[in-house]
């Protein structure tokens, strides 16, 4: 027989225990949600529309701060693609440790890394919950059969696959702060220009980034005046209509503003590009750091292919 895989039958008592735990936890979270729902009488209160600044910690010196942005991005970006290519659980975990060390040595508060991880958690949870049950059967794999769920076996391979995805996603997300948050945004973007990104796009990114904060203030102001007039967001037709008008107003005022912004830029001598005053020199040290990261990435990939540990 070719399908000689292990099938683990979970005993009914154990499964009943798991089920009980699951029901208890989901019941608890529903109770907490409902309580939160009732405790907030002012559900229309100004929601949290805060936008983090990417370069808030760009001044404290570190391994990453002292690195020429062009070489930094030019080596860490390919490194991210090398990490994406990893297949086995063990080497993905090593990549995650490398990222944690990078975050630690970049002198950026760990909360910023954590915030990035929570932003992805919903999307990744979907993989952890669905992939183990929907993976196609492969010969010789381990299945875990839960009682009463005979038609829906838990594929251990699928679980490993979902876990590698989560770990890789975490590893790359944690590299974002050391890669892009350790120089001020204009300097980082200047590095991208030196890597060959058209400067038109870079200028648009800078302008967009600037005006995000302006429009953030604008929507907070507009929303406040709606609330003063008694608006509360609900799941109904009126809310849709009001919010449709809200978006329409936002877009019209943004178009109106563009002309003024552009004329103001022309008045200040804008000729199609922002001047740059200092061009950082690429030192030998920068290149050495870049080489080190590429080496780490290649080594991870080589080990992953030659010594796969826990590969799905």
């Amino acid at each position: 027989m070719d399908r000689s895989g292990t099938i683990i039958h979970v005993s009914s008592t154990f499964a009943a225990g798991l089920l009980f735990l699951a029901i208890f936890l989901s019941g608890l979270s529903i109770v907490l949600l409902v309580r939160k729902w009732h405790r907030e009488p002012d559900r229309g209160a100004a929601p949290d529309w805060s936008i983090p600044t990417i370069d808030a910690y760009a001044d404290t010196p570190s391994f990453f701060h002292n690195w020429d942005p062009a070489v930094k991005i030019g080596s860490l970006f390919p490194y991210c693609f090398l990490v994406v290519s990893l297949k086995s659980l063990f080497w993905c975990a090593v990549a995650l440790i490398v990222s944690l060390l990078a975050l630690f040595f970049s002198n950026i508060p760990w909360q910023r890394g954590l915030r990035r991880l929570t932003a992805m958690s919903g999307f990744l949870l979907m993989f952890l919950l669905i992939v183990p049950f929907t993976s196609p059967a492969k010969p010789g794999e381990t299945l875990i059969l839960l009682p009463m769920l005979d038609s829906l076996p838990f594929h251990l391979n699928g679980f490993y696959l979902a876990l590698t995805i989560v770990i890789k996603a975490f590893a790359i997300a944690l590299m974002m702060e050391p890669m892009l948050g350790t120089s001020s945004l204009p300097i980082t973007l200047q590095g991208l220009v030196r890597l060959g990104v058209p400067s038109a796009i870079i200028q648009m990114i800078l302008l967009t980034h600037r005006y995000i904060f302006v429009f953030q203030q604008e929507i907070i102001r507009m929303y406040r005046s709606m609330r003063v007039r008694g608006f509360t967001a609900r799941t109904d037709f009126t809310t849709m209509k009001t919010m449709g008008n809200f978006f329409g107003m936002l877009f019209i005022s943004s178009f109106d503003r563009t002309q003024k912004v552009y004329e103001a830029m022309l008045c200040r001598g804008y000729q199609g590009s922002f001047p740059t005053f200092s061009l950082p020199q690429t030192r030998r040290e920068d290149l050495a750091k870049g080489g080190l990261w590429i080496m780490i990435g290649i080594l991870l990939l080589v080990f992953d292919r030659t010594l796969p540990v826990l590969a799905p």
Partner: protein, 201 residues
Amino acid sequence: MHISDGVLPTTISLATYALTLAGTALSLKFVRPEELPKIAVVTSAFFVASLIHLPLGPTSVHLLLPGIVGALLGPAAFLSIFIGLFLQSLLFQFGGLTALGANALMMGVPALVCGLLFQLIRGSSLLSNTIAGALAGGLGTFFSASLLAGFLFTSGENFLGVAKLALAAHIPVIIIETAISAFTISFIYRVKPELLMWKQR
């Protein structure tokens, strides 16, 4: 829903990046240089609009807006979406950096298609514009969700279940997006109809 890092195989990541760069370059060709700062400013309005969550029963959803971006910006929509998604990844980690190509295609292509569709069927009355806006908004989100499911599916048969779930999760978003787009376009048509004619702008 944006694809995070680590999901797509490297080949698909790189291929979608190449397509996105080609699309962005093409989009840049269509836009006059003096229009670029203006598109940047409008992009920030779209960015901020996508942060707003609307209540849906006990949870909330935020809008994807590809239809409206396409209707308002035309060929420049792809460029605008690429920049918006780069900043979302940079600031919030919504969508991974290595999946930026796939995410930009997922939103940008529906925006272009729906923008064109909107121009073709919008007619000249308030009602026809409203219907065209609703169609562009709803179809834009539907195409985006289908592309997401398609990317997941081509990444491996293991992801079939996730692809189906992702598609199902977008159904309420499609309904809300259709309604909001109808109201938004009808508002713009009544207040400043020239914004809807990107050919003359």
